[in-house]
């Protein structure tokens, strides 16, 4: 009974939070005004609200909340998948270098094409994927203990791309390009429009759906490779598929939102506290908590001060102490 209540709560929470987000912000809106906008946009009501209300609710708050949900869910689910794959509760969605690669891609696009969002998305996405491919090639070059080799591959590739980002920052025009790069790297949902969501939702959706669908296999993949194979798993194919889905989800998220740390690390741990380690339950739980967490953090980001606080800063400042608290609380529970 309690399990069912938790499940129902988790399923409803992101939608509820998206709805609540419509009221939160520097421009105060009443329930009636928000409903009015939603009514006219969904065709359920005919009374025209003020254009500014439409603008605030439909063009700013709603897309941001939806994007926040997608990005948070993607990062959390892929973080949980990677932690299982690598048998290590301390890795996150960026472990194979996707964030570093995307950061480099975005910086390169800003220098080459200015801040045109299309190029930034495309470059960030492609270089994010490229980084993972490189890590994977390095990691599978050796036949023994490929798991630790993959992690090391990720470390090497992340480090290279971080250095390249520094190089780009160094040569960037300090008045126009450098600030854009710096802000992009700190992560933000500020540019969220429905068209951005439409593009990035495809890789995020495919990645999340794939991981949710194969979530029971993640349990077996967290076993020793030989055991998993003896249990009937084609290790190379299934592990590769899980990495592919997790990478699509993360790259899709990072390319629109910039580098947002800690979600892919902390949220899976919250999920474990709430619903245990079985990935059949953990993965959907992470999806829901990740979505909710990022919606909340984004609301804080845009309301705490007059100008916006970059999201990546807040997820770290809020996430890191919380992680310490979690570690303290769960000490002695096995990981």
């Amino acid at each position: 009974m309690r399990k069912k209540l938790t499940a129902a709560g988790l399923a409803v929470a992101p939608f509820l939070l998206i709805f609540i987000s419509l009221f939160i912000g520097r421009y105060p809106l009443s329930m009636g005004q928000v409903i009015g906008v939603l009514g006219i946009k969904t065709g359920l009501s005919a009374t025209a609200p003020l254009p500014i209300h439409i603008n605030v609710v439909w063009d700013i708050r709603l897309p941001r909340a939806i994007l926040g949900a997608l990005v948070g869910g993607s990062l959390a689910v892929s973080g949980a998948a990677f932690q299982g794959l690598f048998r290590n509760p301390l890795v996150s969605s960026g472990v194979l270098g996707v964030s570093a690669g995307a950061g480099f891609g975005a910086s390169l696009a800003i220098i080459l094409f200015g801040s045109d969002t299309f190029y930034v998305y495309a470059f960030a996405f492609c270089f994010g994927i490229l980084a993972v491919v490189l890590s994977y090639v390095i990691g599978t070059n050796y036949t023994s203990t490929p798991t630790i080799m993959l992690v090391l591959g990720g470390v090497v590739v992340s480090s290279i791309f971080s250095s390249l980002v520094s190089l780009l920052k160094y040569i960037a025009d300090p008045y126009e390009q450098l600030p854009s790069i710096v802000f992009w790297l700190m992560g933000s949902m500020a540019s969220a429009r429905f068209k951005d969501i439409a593009i990035s939702a495809i890789p995020m959706g495919v990645g999340m759906a794939g991981l949710v669908a194969m979530r029971w296999r993640l349990n077996v993949l967290s076993m020793d490779d030989r055991e998993a194979q003896a249990l009937g798993v084609n290790i190379i194919f299934v592990k590769g598929l899980a990495i592919l889905f997790a990478t699509l989800a993360t790259a899709g998220a990072v390319c629109v939102s910039g580098v947002i740390g800690w979600v892919g690390l902390v949220v899976p741990h919250m999920g474990r506290m709430l619903s245990g380690n079985d990935n059949t339950v953990l993965v959907p739980t992470c999806l829901s908590i990740g979505a909710g967490y990022l919606i909340i953090v984004d609301n804080v980001a845009r309301t705490l001060t007059g100008s916006e606080i970059p999201l990546g800063i807040l997820t770290s400042i809020m996430g890191a102490p919380f992680f310490v608290y979690l570690l303290k609380k769960t000490k002695g529970r096995g990981w």
């Binding site: 299982g84 048998r87 290590n88 509760p89 669908a213 194969m214 979530r215 029971w216 296999r217 349990n219 077996v220 967290s222 076993m223 020793d224 030989r226 055991e227 194979q229 003896a230 249990l231 009937g232 798993v233 084609n234 290790i235 299934v238 598929l241 474990r272 245990g276 380690n277 079985d278 059949t280 529970r333 096995g334 990981w335």
Partner: protein, 268 residues
């Protein structure tokens, strides 16, 4: 009829030869022990029999089929593997670990069904661990963990169990308990067991329990001898391979024959 058959199987890591010309037949319903000193190639042979490592020459056949041509999922329905030591990455519940034995019966994008859950619970019951079902398996002792590994293997519903020194980390009582469980399973279900071990008396234990047992004595990548325990585990062979003096003791008591080989001293 033989379930597993190796014919002149060899294996090498790069240039280094690890197995040479291994020929063996494992018959249905028997207990096949692999015995030999550290580093003689037992574990490598076990991995080859499971199809995890591919032989570099010779063939290993599973029910007549070349194991190299079989998919992991097909092998997993014939052979279940019980490792020497199991690394516990996350505190999964005992039942979730046993359910992993059902992977080869479940599609990539599917969840375990009610029947799978029932099979897993029955497997736990058969090793006497059903009451641990909802415990985090990180809290189990070494002996309990090995029994969970047996349950996971049973949940695979295979005709053969392949074990790699399954009692290596168990204490005196847990080791005996583990062997008793295996004996009960073999008698109840006619399951075939292949087991690598460091202890010659394991083979005698199975024979003393009236189970059809055979031993392959391995030394330096090869089979030195194969046969019934008292043909293979002789005082002479112990001397030849381990350079130890030993004594084979046979004792007749009310429940039958009792044989053990006792190590006495090492030679320089």
């Amino acid at each position: 009829m033989s379930i597993i058959e190796a014919e002149k199987a060899s294996f090498s890591y790069g240039q280094q030869n690890v197995l040479q010309n291994i020929s063996m037949k494992v018959r249905e319903g028997e207990m096949f022990c692999l015995f030999g000193p550290n580093g003689c190639g037992k574990t490598t042979l076990i991995q080859c029999l499971l199809g995890i490592l591919k032989t570099s020459s010779g063939t290993i056949r599973l029910r007549g089929r070349d194991i190299r041509s079989m998919k992991a999922v097909e092998i997993a329905r014939e052979l279940a593997y019980i490792p020497q030591a199991h690394e516990k990455p996350f505190p999964y519940k005992v039942i979730d670990v046993v359910l992993m034995g059902r992977v080869s019966y479940t599609g990539l994008f599917s969840l375990p069904k009610k029947e799978d859950r029932k099979t897993a619970e029955e497997a736990l019951e058969r090793v006497g661990m059903l009451s641990f079902k909802d415990k985090p398996y990180t809290q189990l002792s070494g002996g309990e963990t090995q029994l969970v590994m047996v349950a996971r293997a049973l949940a695979q519903q295979t005709p053969v169990l392949v074990m790699d020194e399954p009692t290596a980390h168990l204490d005196f009582r847990n080791e005996l308990g583990f062997l008793e469980t295996i004996v009960r399973l073999v008698k109840d279900t006619k399951i075939t067991v292949v087991m690598a071990t460091h202890f010659p008396n394991h083979a005698f234990y199975f024979e003393n329990s009236n189970i059809e047992s055979r031993v392959a004595l391995m030394n330096e990548k090869m089979f030195y001898a194969q046969g019934r325990p008292d043909e293979v585990l002789t005082e002479y062979n112990m001397y030849d391979i381990f350079k130890i003096k030993s004594k084979l003791i046979a004792h007749q008591w009310e429940e039958g024959k009792l044989k053990q080989i006792l190590p006495i001293k090492t030679y320089g």
